[in-house]
């Protein structure tokens, strides 16, 4: 936090040195109590030679491409079957409760398909740019790899993330309430570079992007955004995209709803207006209480969630030191600050940011807390560099009602009981 520029607009200041000393003192006090725990018998894991300390382990090449060790088998994407009619056109959820840091491993990053994840090889892959351009072009994958590349980290959040929570606390777990998000390092070519190859005509004010898959998932994007920071990505977290994320090429639309991040990208049409496709009219529009709907609500606003403790990740120990941690992000820029409350929003403490906040990227936060063993109402509240403060559910509902489905970025509450078990609740 101390690295944040002082002139960030409306950004409240971070914790002072005094805050730091006080927190450190508390933590140290807790540590003394913890170290006082005594064992009555020697721990056989220490006193007895363990098989893994005596016998030989696996040699190299046992797994040419490694999977997580089987002890982590529970850290997987999970589906909520009743949400959709069929897994072919459905969504699953990133196990954010079990991850730390900021980068989401591809293998457990949420999937959203409208007609299933398709296999397209690099040899079969073609990208077309046409419409209001000087030169309609076709690229092979190899062609694209000859264009200048950039590498950037961005979050991709489904517009419907937390959409099941509008009407009340519904799904019990951070994975299910907030898991339609991932945060990856992308490498690829900017749309600015690509469009420059084709030469956009002056009347080209929008692009229409669509995929190779049966759904096509066509979306219209204003030219300003396309030229500002959009890119096509071939690599995520240093390796080829996974099939389920659009191998070999997907669109990256930083800060804007995941539905725009077209996978298996097949065509970029330069247009003089929006196509008004199915995905930008019948879906991904936000129904308001008066029966009208907001459209083109592309940006994902500041949001955060505590990932631990949470229903899938309870506090398993007694009173004493613990780490409250979570994720924060904003589609309008960088996260400036995250506050945490343990009393349902009566009082707030500013959390420590675990990473330097990135533009339209996930930031990790930590609150090093000494738990007194009493029930807590744990909340987090993100504030971004524009000064936007993550709203409460009440604030959002007052404006948007209960039926807008998308863009629920409200503050989440976990009730943690005396046993340390956590559950999804609403408070009043």
């Amino acid at each position: 936090m101390s690295d944040m520029p002082n002139d960030a607009p409306k950004t409240p200041r971070g914790p002072s040195r005094r805050d730091f000393l006080r927190t450190a003192g508390l933590a140290a006090g807790g540590a003394v109590v913890g170290a006082g725990a005594k064992a009555s018998t020697p721990d056989p894991l220490i006193t007895e030679v363990q098989p893994f300390a005596s016998f030989l382990g696996e040699g190299v090449d046992a797994t040419p491409y490694g999977m997580p060790i089987h002890f982590e088998d529970h850290v997987v994407r999970r589906n909520v079957e009743w949400l959709t009619a069929d897994p072919i056109s459905s969504i699953n959820f990133t196990p954010i409760h079990a991850l730390d840091g900021t980068i989401t491993p591809q293998g457990c990053a949420f999937e959203r398909h409208h007609s299933g994840a398709i296999e397209v090889s690099k040899e079969e892959y073609r990208l077309m740019i046409n419409g209001l351009v000087e030169r309609p072009l076709v690229f092979t994958f190899g062609d694209l790899m000859r264009l200048p590349r950039e590498t950037r980290v961005h979050f991709c959040e489904c517009a419907a993330n937390s959409g099941m929570e509008w009407g009340g606390a519904q799904l019990n777990g951070a994975q299910f309430t907030h898991g339609m998000i991932h945060n990856m390092e992308y490498t690829g070519v900017t749309l600015r570079t690509l469009l420059n190859e084709a030469g956009v005509k002056p009347e080209g004010s929008w692009i229409y992007v669509e995929g190779h898959d049966a759904s096509s998932n066509g979306r219209s994007i204003p030219m300003e955004k396309a030229l500002d920071d959009c890119m096509i990505a071939f690599f995520a977290n240093g390796e080829a995209l996974r099939m389920e994320h659009g191998y070999p090429v997907r669109l990256v639309v930083p800060g804007w709803e995941g539905n725009l991040w077209v996978k298996w990208l097949r065509r970029i049409g330069v247009m003089d207006g929006p196509v008004q496709s199915r995905e930008e009219t019948s879906k991904y529009t936000d129904l308001m209480p008066d029966g009208r709907a907001r459209k083109w609500t592309w940006a994902m606003h500041a949001k955060s969630v505590v990932t631990s403790p949470s229903p899938q990740m309870p506090i398993g120990h007694g009173p004493g030191p613990m780490v409250i941690t979570g994720l924060a992000w904003s589609g309008l820029g960088k996260i400036a600050r995250v506050d945490v409350s343990i009393d349902g929003g009566v009082n707030w403490q500013t959390a420590r940011l675990g990473t330097e906040p990135g533009d339209k990227a996930v930031t990790r936060f930590y609150l090093d807390h000494v738990w007194d063993g009493k029930p807590m109402f744990v909340q987090s509240r993100a504030i971004d560099e524009t000064g936007y403060v993550q709203p409460t559910k009440e604030q959002l509902r007052a404006i948007r009602g209960l039926n807008s489905i998308y863009h629920n970025n409200a503050i989440q509450t976990w009730y943690v009981n005396e046993n340390g078990d956590a559950e999804n609740v609403e408070v009043s």
Partner: protein, 361 residues
């Protein structure tokens, strides 16, 4: 657009729009041919640009609807199971449970035509003829009460049709409506009265089972608890072991290469059909044990009248019957609801049937 400008920080962008050609191109890629553009640029805009010439009437549309669409969207476009209703719902957008359909919510007819043409039927996209798309669109308009049953839709009268909710949308105004309240320095202490629980997810109880993560602590405050789900899975595995052995014996009589080829070919079927452990009915019935079974007998699946009739007439899915059906589904059993063009290659059909046979009960 004004909203977009508000959200984007750099004002220099506007200059870029005025002169988007920024630098010399690198000359990568090749010129797209007109035939290639025609094949891929099929998007249709609200003003009708992009519509190909063609026509289709309500009555033909009803026939196509029953063949291609009704299995998911109901005979009258009212929806089936968890699949979406296409019509109905007018006047419900302010209700507690709005029904958003082409009739009640979609703003433009071009979207309907474009989506059917590009992405429907589910599992067989881009197989409809242009006139079929016009006819199906006409049938939807009829089912929505927007045209009479003698209506014909064509590229000529297309833009005369307006959907009821065209005026029901407005540009994102969150920056104007919400930001003034939300860009305030937030309260840090004594911000509200003490809270109590007003709603809990466990009362609704719709969350799938999940393992809870627990650790060991030196102070002994909690033991390691095996993830309940994992333990359950192990138990099932053990119980299933003898059956697996029996299946291995049966598999031995099938040509493994043919079964493997069939597994690849199965990709075109799995959109609608499931096979193997835990297979359930989807758009189509689950197909465990289908080879040699009587037709139309899978528990819990709502068959088309055509399949039900064939079953009543004693159809057994022998390898020969499956081969004939898979070659030409609509020809072998007219008006069945499997919207699938068929498998031309006899080798591929044989592989598929071998793969199905490898999943016999």
């Amino acid at each position: 657009m004004s909203k977009c400008r508000n959200l984007l920080a750099g004002t220099a962008l506007l200059t870029l729009i005025a002169s988007p050609v920024l630098a010399e191109s690198l000359g990568i890629g090749r010129l797209a041919l007109p035939e290639e553009i025609a094949a891929w640029d099929v998007a249709v805009m609200p003003d009708g640009r992009g519509l190909p010439e063609g026509r289709g009437n309500v009555l033909d549309g009803e026939d196509y609807w029953i063949d291609y669409c009704a299995v998911c969207h109901g005979d009258f476009a009212e929806g089936a199971g968890a699949w979406p209703a296409i019509v109905g719902g007018r006047g419900t957008l302010t209700a507690e449970r709005p029904l958003k359909t082409v009739e009640s919510y979609w703003p433009y007819l071009s979207t309907v035509w474009d989506y059917i043409n590009r992405s429907m039927p589910f599992g067989a996209a881009q197989t409809l003829e242009t006139d079929e798309v016009y006819a199906i669109t006409a049938y939807i308009l009829y089912s929505a009460g927007l045209v009479d049953d003698d209506f014909e839709l064509s590229h000529e009268n297309f833009t005369e049709i307006r959907l009821p909710n065209e005026g029901g949308f407005y540009l994102d105004d969150r920056a104007e409506v919400e930001f003034p309240t939300l860009q305030q320095e937030p309260c840090m202490s004594d911000c509200r009265d003490a809270v109590s629980i007003s709603a809990r997810a466990t009362d609704i109880d719709v969350t799938p089972e999940f393992p809870v993560i627990r650790f060991h602590y030196s102070d002994g405050s909690a033991p390691v608890i095996e993830a309940t789900e994992a333990s359950a899975a192990e138990a099932v595995e053990e119980a299933a072991a003898p059956e697996t052995a029996a299946e291995d014996v049966q598999l031995a009589s099938l040509d493994p290469a043919l079964v493997a080829a069939g597994e690849t070919a199965w990709r075109q079927c799995r959109t609608c059909h499931q096979l193997g452990d835990g297979a359930r009915n989807g758009t189509g019935p689950q197909l465990n044990g289908i080879v040699g079974a009587a037709a139309g007998q899978v528990d819990g699946f709502r068959y088309s009248p055509a399949i039900t009739e064939a079953a009543a007439a004693g159809l057994i899915w022998t390898e020969e019957a499956l081969d004939a059906f898979l070659e030409n589904p609509a020809g072998k059993i007219p008006r069945n609801r499997m919207s699938f063009r068929g498998v031309r290659s006899a080798d591929e059909r044989a592989a598929l049937i071998a793969y199905l046979a490898s999943h016999s009960d």
